[in-house]
Subunit: 506 residues, 2 copies
Amino acid sequence: MAREQTRRRERRGAEKLASFPWRQVVNPYKPVDVLSADQVEAIHRASLRVLQEIGIEVWSAAALDRFARAGARVDRAAQRVRLEGALVEELVAKAPSQFRLHARNPERDVVIGGNHIVFSGVGGPAFASDLDNGKRAGTFEDFRNFTKVLHGLNVIHQEGGSIEPTDLPAETRYLDLYEADITLTDRTWHCWAFGRPAVEDALAMLEMARSVDRDRMLAEPTAITIVNTNSPLRLDGPMGDGLIAMAEAGQPTVATPFTLAGAMSPATLAGALAQQNAEALAMVALAQIVRPGAPMVYGGFTSNVDMKTGAPAFGTPEYTKAALASGQLARRYRLPWRSSNVNASNVVDAQATYESEMAVWGAVMGGVSLLYQGAGWLEGGLTASFEKLIVDAEILQMMAEVLVPIEVSEDTLGVEAMAEAGPGGHFFGTAHTLERYETAFYKPLLSDWRNFGAWQEDGSKTATERANGIWKQLLAEYQEPALDPAVREALAAYVARRKREIAAGS
Amino acid sequence: MAREQTRRRERRGAEKLASFPWRQVVNPYKPVDVLSADQVEAIHRASLRVLQEIGIEVWSAAALDRFARAGARVDRAAQRVRLEGALVEELVAKAPSQFRLHARNPERDVVIGGNHIVFSGVGGPAFASDLDNGKRAGTFEDFRNFTKVLHGLNVIHQEGGSIEPTDLPAETRYLDLYEADITLTDRTWHCWAFGRPAVEDALAMLEMARSVDRDRMLAEPTAITIVNTNSPLRLDGPMGDGLIAMAEAGQPTVATPFTLAGAMSPATLAGALAQQNAEALAMVALAQIVRPGAPMVYGGFTSNVDMKTGAPAFGTPEYTKAALASGQLARRYRLPWRSSNVNASNVVDAQATYESEMAVWGAVMGGVSLLYQGAGWLEGGLTASFEKLIVDAEILQMMAEVLVPIEVSEDTLGVEAMAEAGPGGHFFGTAHTLERYETAFYKPLLSDWRNFGAWQEDGSKTATERANGIWKQLLAEYQEPALDPAVREALAAYVARRKREIAAGS
């Protein structure tokens, strides 16, 4: 009996997991505005005032040089940069509103900007978690497994960095990640921008992966990274250097302040948004100084703290409103906009889910271009959860389906089918239904729609427990995408050489 | 240690549960349109064609009479009513776009229509469920407990019918429910419309509760009910009679087809929506024949089945799109619109939550007037869950907060606070933050934002497990709202008399 259930479950699983096709998601709906046009302008003007009067601290000598040469007021002793509003506006206007990010498999290229949406996986957690082994420090094995599972989920367009492999040497682990990203998946992925070398190595390895030169990379952006300010109003040295290196090569950076209202920004949404805007614009401006037209993404990550404890909160009503408002701000500058799928729960439960939904709806209804941290984030971003990855993939698949417009035609209106069924009849057997039997509706990855008895007989599993079975199935079914063995060898040799150089301090 | 944790928990709980104030929710944002204006008109025209060519089966003799006198083509043998499009449009235009529903406590009145939103509790499940006792047939005790917990949740404006008390005699249980609704809460609640007597008794008891006469009730609608069609295209006898009785008294009916695409309507959203529209308009038209200007709510409940098994699914992408489209249709007729908070999960887990969020976002972004089944629905509506009631209350509270516009002013923009904190500083101690310490952000009912260690030390409880503690606390803290003892006595005497009459078959 148990074996039969397992077999039935596996069949059901195997059938389901194949169902979602790779496709770029396009948002056909008008974004929801939570701010009036006047309010957007008031936030814009306040942020320009911040950059002009208070300025931003920049700990990168190279960035200070660039700002000074472009006409900013730079106080080198205080590492403070003050920017006139007109200069900021002139620079920001040079950034493109949309660009294509190239994958090593051209079929996995993505467009960032316009009404396109890219769903990216979680990036950054130092801990991994699953139902079998609980929470633990992330390892390279966790990173590899997470990336393999993600590769089996077509709705996640991009690998976001997933889990930090804390079992690898800190100075060189990024090289192992890059190599794993290139070999385990053929999608785009996020490189590190902690200083120039991490960017240079990403560029070199992506050139090998795609068999292209630097000029081609310039014309066809392939690397992408996140640069965060240390809010309030500080850009640290490695991040500043990394941003410059990306811009020089014409590769996109997602410029994301972390404006946690009440802690790293004012305890008001208007204030937190004004500060976010100031910090984001300063980074976009720096990139445009380095290379006019360098692709940039406006990053919004405004949330709030629990005022009783100072603990950060995510997926709150304030978070959602800030997301919707950030979309409006990004559109004001004609920049692609990044938002996130976040929550503060310690476990994959109802809270993790409703906070994530609040974040995803805020992003999508706000016209998001890049949903970073899109799948797998748990515990305020400290942990990457394998089960959450599956729950989020279902959420994202459902959202992708919501964005497919309703088809209204003589045929779909089906008045003849209603006449055929007649009052009190049923539609199971009508020709209209039979024609559409296979493709009529979204087929879920995770949701169980069986009745209570059938569900109970199959072990009364919660969605999180079922997610555990699904990621294991995806991991077991993983197939590495094809890669020229010569490229693979060259990558390995490059990584080995760079590790030796870094060990030698060169 | 355990006791200390319990005490801390109780304090935390007690502090939290008091926080959400009673208020009517107003939606300041423009609804999301998923249909073009042309598509709305195509659905409208298809639905008029359905009413004219196929017609609707009506099993109420009184309703057939009314339709015939109003000029419809009525085939009495087939109980079929066919309506010309012009007649439907003329009748539907008589319904008001907004009305106030009166509670026995005037402070609990609600406005239905315009940009107001009313959140209503679950209505109808024959089963109750909680973590302690699992799923069981609903009892009057369950109904009373559910209503008491709901009364402690200010975000739920209206009692929706909650749990069917299967331990009471079927013919008279509605009288016990009415008495319990009037005595246990001072909010509005849903009466039954299975035939004229259930409506007449609701009206009589509400007149006693408010100490008003029938004329005053006419001017101040106080009863509300749901009337469903037996889709496709059939209105049964008791429902037709109940609808007429409500309209005669000027009380609002929520006219809700149950158009499950692929089973009770075509396997296309356009078709299901056209059929929904036809059925809803027929009911609105009937009410306007009975009493021009009778308040009506356009009910949308289009979802889809799992095409493999025929099982109904809820909170699907199709459900969400149908909700958004239904909002557009209701607005086309300037009618208030009802949607629901639904899911198909058998347990209060991630699936129950993401399906509910899909439904709630579709409703709210679609400009919903009445969110029926707003809190407590589980298992496709077969079960009312006490823990789900708490999860949903949190979801609704968060949504109510999302609908509070961002305040943008010189003061909230906080540029001075940014200057005070300075680059790399923090805002905890700024004057700007201290002024807002208490009220800056939403305080959750259920979410736990503590770090992993503190959460683990407190028992590693999931949100569903914490919800169990919260509803019990609300039940323990329940206080019956004041009611004149004479009124209470009169109600009891009325119920006793009516039970005797019904037993005697009169």
